[in-house]
Symmetry: C2
Subunit: 448 residues, 2 copies
Amino acid sequence: MCSLNLTAQDEDALFIQKIHEHILAEGRSYEWLSQLCTGYPGRIAGSPQDSGASRFMLDLLQRIGTDTSYLQQTETNYWYRGDIEEAYQVLPDGSLNKLNAIALGGSGATPDRGMTAQILEIQSLDELEKLNDEDVTGKIVFFNRPMDPAQIRTFRAYGGAVDQRVYGPATASKKGAVAAIVRSMTLKKDDIPHTGVTVFADSIAKIPAFGISTNDADKLSKQLKENAVYVYLRNNPADMGLRPTWNVVGEIKGYEKPEEILLVGGHLDSWDVGQGAHDDGSGCIQSVEVLSALKLLGYKPKRTLRAVMFANEENGLAGGRAYARISGEKGEFHLAAIESDAGGFSPRGFSFEADTAVFKNYYRAVTQWLPVLESYGLQFEMGGSGADIGPLKYQKGLLIGLRPDSQRYFDYHHTAADTIDAVNERELKLGAAAMASLIYLIDKYGLN
Amino acid sequence: MCSLNLTAQDEDALFIQKIHEHILAEGRSYEWLSQLCTGYPGRIAGSPQDSGASRFMLDLLQRIGTDTSYLQQTETNYWYRGDIEEAYQVLPDGSLNKLNAIALGGSGATPDRGMTAQILEIQSLDELEKLNDEDVTGKIVFFNRPMDPAQIRTFRAYGGAVDQRVYGPATASKKGAVAAIVRSMTLKKDDIPHTGVTVFADSIAKIPAFGISTNDADKLSKQLKENAVYVYLRNNPADMGLRPTWNVVGEIKGYEKPEEILLVGGHLDSWDVGQGAHDDGSGCIQSVEVLSALKLLGYKPKRTLRAVMFANEENGLAGGRAYARISGEKGEFHLAAIESDAGGFSPRGFSFEADTAVFKNYYRAVTQWLPVLESYGLQFEMGGSGADIGPLKYQKGLLIGLRPDSQRYFDYHHTAADTIDAVNERELKLGAAAMASLIYLIDKYGLN
């Protein structure tokens, strides 16, 4: 006979190894993500693709053997790009140079026959606010402050530039501009234009607003040093009014503390171009893989494991808000929630946040597990978690963001290039394995 | 007046930040790598591409303003793929199914009109050794043990399978096989065949040997469970005899201890397919970026900084051996050498090795710097460094390998897909910045 005395730590290390082995060798997340991306590309909230994707995910949650799975309906404004989208520089001789441009989500339409106006380059909202209205009136404001390449974390570079896209067009409109063009939110110099949300208060005229590629932005800026530059824009996006959209939820009930919920999630909607592979098909499918892997490995959770694919993260957050509200109405408690919404790249660790009253205790609890997770290249830090789980903060659980390597994210973010081909199977799966490992530890030990 | 009291640690953190800022915002490594890859693809040692690449790198080292730069000639056997390369499965009705196959470097040619033989699937060299010669004679041995997907570090999975490619064909030849086919060394299921070196002792008949894609390997294996499978091979590779090949060296002389050399390097040769972008154009160009960045930042090194692009790593190591020998003849001492030969991916840290008599002291010295490097996501570990700097071990300096994220490396390794498009600019540059940061610290403090 042979007796094996495993410490709890050895046991954890072994099980976490099993999770990785299973997901890397037998996980099906890449195949599922491929089905989601090719079957339901361009899943902007409220669109037919969005509703198709919801049914696909619900079916997938049933197929992997969750105890319960359901749709949670909410609604949001459906912004439709229309079928015309043209942007050209108008040269002095009247000839046209095509610009790589794409309308920003939520922006307005040009007149039917398009519009031509002089562009005015601006580096910041402040700079624009300080201009006299007459210097802006009738112009197309061109926001051209680049993301800072020296930021190691690309999300910080994004955070330092994205105000131009979100608030720039409305600010320009207030000052009398007829349209706005915004340098794409990427660190890459290329010809791919990036979309993303832009916000107009009800009181402000919704003007046309386009993202233009970084190469085109550099070209226009260079020409502006010599001459006035004119741009012709024509498009016909429209607000289609309120449409239903759905959170998709699947759960495995806990046997000991079913009232404590451990959530893994991502958001199911994407922009209407590309396939939403990294943003955020990856996070949704990784969340399914977490439940699937733990189930196939025969793990019986003490707490309730729940995978949630949130609706409408990109332009409204209706899904995340509805989920938190309904959860409150049911008197639920999410002990922890992990969101993956930073791409299906090689995982580097987790970021933790919670209500200040409880954060220290939680963080002390999780840091005990760092040694076993470090051997998978995972690090812990304090910081943000995810937009969709943010509204759960009032429940005073631990909110966690998966932090993958961020270097390539903005090469694809909000573009036609965010397709399944841009996702590496092993990187995607390692992210899922990291999430499953942390869920296992929280489930087993709680957060005390 | 304002007096700024910086601790040494603050100073280091600031300078390392400057290194990163400079390389990410102004570094030219991606542009240089693109020139190397498109100008001199398929730089197998001894080829015209190899010699062209050497001149390109020498010119580049001069352009960045090294104090000295030179070629160091050595020689190696030049293996030439020939102009015929065909591999087909022969179906029972005589029709042919094309296989995605590529001859292994160093393998022999088929008869002029090709050869057809039954294939014999084998999982290990041991299994083959145990067979009776008559069961192998006249057959094509098919090595089909996959790399282990459950290994988090893909290089370990490679290490666990590559004996089949390196020694399999020779072992098969000894047992009377007429040829060998080897499952490609990758974790990906795709149609891309991988080449790489295979070794025949002089006494052993050099038989044809092909890498076949993992998809084809799986297909053949499946069919073998039902029926005998026949394969037709035809190719005409040839050993072209000894040819010159060159290490390319550039240095910036130290002002205080010029006799202590700090080396950064990679290998300039690649396989004859693809562009050798990750393997190992990246390592070469990153090494140039290290010297260039430190120079442009106005850093005056105490010790001599030397960038070395080694010759012939892939199939002979003539460059690394010659470099170490000549260095010994000159009485040189390499206090430290960093090799980057694991792809231009996001850096995860460094691996350290040295003669056991000195290793502990060195490792204690470098671990003092971990706090400042950790904030760039870099970790330290004991382990191998690099094939080309290995022969320097006798000098009892510290040998260091840059360790990038390894998940995607074997998607490209030794294939036509190892092109500049597979390299991400920021990931490449971050690797160079990591190397420059460590070189700065070693130069400033030594290793005591």
